[in-house]
């Protein structure tokens, strides 16, 4: 067990995946047969080239065009859409909302989830462990649409649970229209997202913790090391790869948020819950300003790509060895 794991860990590092850790080469076959081998990857490559990479390139071109929705004419305007973007206060507040999303999600979906997963995995009873993991996961299985609608009703001022619960515990003065006012709407949406997503990241961390050799914990308990020190000296360092991966996934997910905002507030009230995704949608598909929407898309692309490159760079620098 201990012998096989280090090599697995290294091989499975995302950096190694992306750069393509290749199996040992077998003696070269005749050229034709090698070319025929391409048939294995052809469907995947074609699908991605046509429907993922091509639109990505096209988007850059689109962002330099002004579309006239009435005549259907297109005019090249260079970087004007980006200039407009810089001067657009809603764009900046949307970007700020995405950042807020990222920060809060990091707290709940990464650090909260590691702690929760460690607690769950320390439970001795198999049934309880499995049961808790499953229950916490349920919100992630139901769609963001269902969860968003559900919380739309929970936040509803009259029939909503939240205000009634606050009333019930004597905090009735805190009751308010959570989604209906600018000051609370964004946080309310983000809170729902945390409820929906924490079970998923907890499950992934639980899986990572299960792979830590139990000998390490046994040795620690023989040495009389307490639970909290065990968490910091064994669990945390040994799920580092998963943590790195989840930090990246969470941040880049926060810059792609769309569904929950669309379902709960559509960006309102008064654009206070606008995020890049919904602002793109509104400009492109409500106002038919495709060039401007494409420019917003470029910003999302640059941010998510930068995050992904940081991840690759970090992974190349430190490989876990144990």
């Amino acid at each position: 067990m201990l012998l096989t794991q280090p090599s697995k860990t290294v091989e499975r590092a995302p950096a190694a995946q992306a750069t393509g850790a290749q199996p040992p080469r077998t003696p070269k076959r005749p050229g034709i047969r090698r070319l025929l081998g391409l048939a294995w990857i052809l469907p995947a490559v074609v699908m991605l080239a046509v429907f993922v990479y091509l639109p990505l390139v096209q988007n850059l071109g689109f962002s330099t065009i002004e579309w006239d929705i009435y005549s259907g004419s297109q005019e090249f305007i260079g970087l004007d859409n980006y200039v407009k973007l810089v001067g657009d206060p809603i764009f900046w507040s949307a970007l700020g909302n995405n950042l807020l999303y990222a920060v809060i999600s990091l707290g709940f979906q990464v650090f909260g989830a590691i702690v929760l997963a460690a607690i769950i995995e320390s439970i001795r009873s198999d049934a309880w462990r499995r049961g808790l993991r499953a229950v916490y996961f349920i919100p992630s299985a139901i769609s963001l649409t269902v969860a968003g609608l559900l919380f739309y009703f929970i936040y509803e001022p009259n029939l909503g649970l939240l205000n009634h619960v606050l009333d019930g515990i004597g905090l009735g003065s805190w009751a308010q229209p959570w989604l209906g006012q600018e000051s609370t709407a964004m946080v309310a949406v983000i809170a729902m997202s945390q409820w929906q997503g924490f079970g998923y990241s907890t499950l992934l961390f639980a899986v990572a913790i299960q792979r830590i050799p139990s000998e390490l914990y046994e040795a620690a308990s023989i040495d009389g090391i307490g639970a909290i020190r065990r968490f910091f000296t064994i669990t945390l360092p040994l799920v580092r790869e998963m943590t790195g991966l989840m930090i990246i996934v969470t941040i880049s997910g926060a810059f792609q948020v769309f569904n929950e905002v669309m379902v709960m507030t559509s960006g309102g009230p008064n654009n206070s819950t606008q995020v890049l995704g919904t602002w793109l949608y509104r400009n492109g598909f409500v106002r038919n300003d495709f060039g401007y929407a494409a420019a917003i898309a470029t910003v999302i692309f640059v941010v998510t790509l930068a995050i992904a490159l940081v991840q690759l760079w970090i992974n190349r620098r430190r490989r876990v060895e144990w």
């Binding site: 992306a18 850790a21 995947a44 991605l48 299985a141 899986v207 494409a294």
Partner: protein, 278 residues
């Protein structure tokens, strides 16, 4: 010393279990509320949100069913099943080609396929709409099938590839000695050995396709082609005052995936553990 430790340990445990069970309530109570509201009348719903429904009346469910949910459900099932088959097959093919066949440009191909992991669907949205409109695929079943497959190939291939890389080389050699063709080796030997990760990727893809919203909203219109997530928001805006019917629709949308997760939980987690658990 010993007694103090056990006392502290006891406090910790009580605190821990209180926390875990509170979290269970926070998760389960809203869901239970959703299910119960599906059985209430509008008057009951607005009366006291904590109250139980007076009777288990299924009329909200039949109403939701007749107001479009049956159409949404059909579309969702069709899109989910076909895109799952397409994605998992194409990804397993690619993973086999990348890990066990000596092909030219394999590094470039791996980078191209797995690099797709970094790209957000939102970024390609505007050009994709133009493309699908000009191809005449807008508001068709094909639009969703193609998009769900293309955008999930990177992740699915990533998982299956990580699993296949660890299968011993000797298997391929043995298959070759026995005269098996590449196809036979893939179909009869390697794929069955990858069963745990294949099951995980199937479950993950079903969860994705069943719940996807952005593409479904932008690329379809009208009751006939909408999937459940988009259909529910239509139901909400069309019959916004008839909340219990919306709740019933939500339950119909949520139930299949929750059941799927509970049925497949053991295999799903095992596959994940072998595939991405580091």
């Amino acid at each position: 010393m010993v007694t103090r430790l056990t006392f502290a340990g006891l406090i910790t445990r009580v605190f821990m279990w209180t926390f875990l069970l509170c979290l269970v309530v926070v998760v389960v109570y809203p869901l239970a509320w959703m299910v119960l509201n599906g059985f209430k009348t509008n008057t009951e719903l607005f009366g006291n949100p904590f109250a139980l429904p007076l009777q288990l009346d299924w009329q909200n469910y039949t109403a939701a069913w007749n107001r479009g949910v049956s159409n949404y459900l059909t579309t969702s099932i069709l899109v989910t099943v076909t895109s799952t088959i397409a994605t998992v097959f194409i990804s397993a093919w690619a993973a086999y080609g990348l890990t066990r066949v000596n092909i030219p440009f394999s590094r470039t191909a791996a980078t191209l396929i797995l690099g797709g992991l970094m790209l957000a669907p939102t970024v390609a949205l505007v050009p994709l709409v133009k493309m699908f409109q000009s191809m005449g695929l807008y508001n068709t079943f094909w639009a969703l099938l193609i998009l769900y497959t293309a955008f999930r190939i990177p992740f699915t291939t990533f998982l299956i590839r990580a699993y296949m890389i660890d299968l011993p080389r000797e298997i391929d050699e043995a298959a070759e000695v026995d005269g098996a063709s590449r196809w036979t080796a893939f179909w009869r030997i390697i794929l069955p050995m990858c069963r745990p990760i294949i099951i995980s990727t199937i479950v993950l893809h079903i969860l994705f396709a069943w719940n996807e919203y952005l593409f479904a909203m932008v690329f379809t219109s009208g009751t006939e082609m909408q999937t459940l997530p988009v259909g529910l928001t239509s139901l909400m805006s069309k019959h916004g005052t008839d909340y219990p019917v919306v709740f019933a629709g939500m339950v119909i949308a949520a139930l299949p995936v929750v059941i799927l997760f509970f049925v497949s939980q053991r295999y799903f987690i095992k596959g994940l553990a072998d595939g991405i658990g580091k």
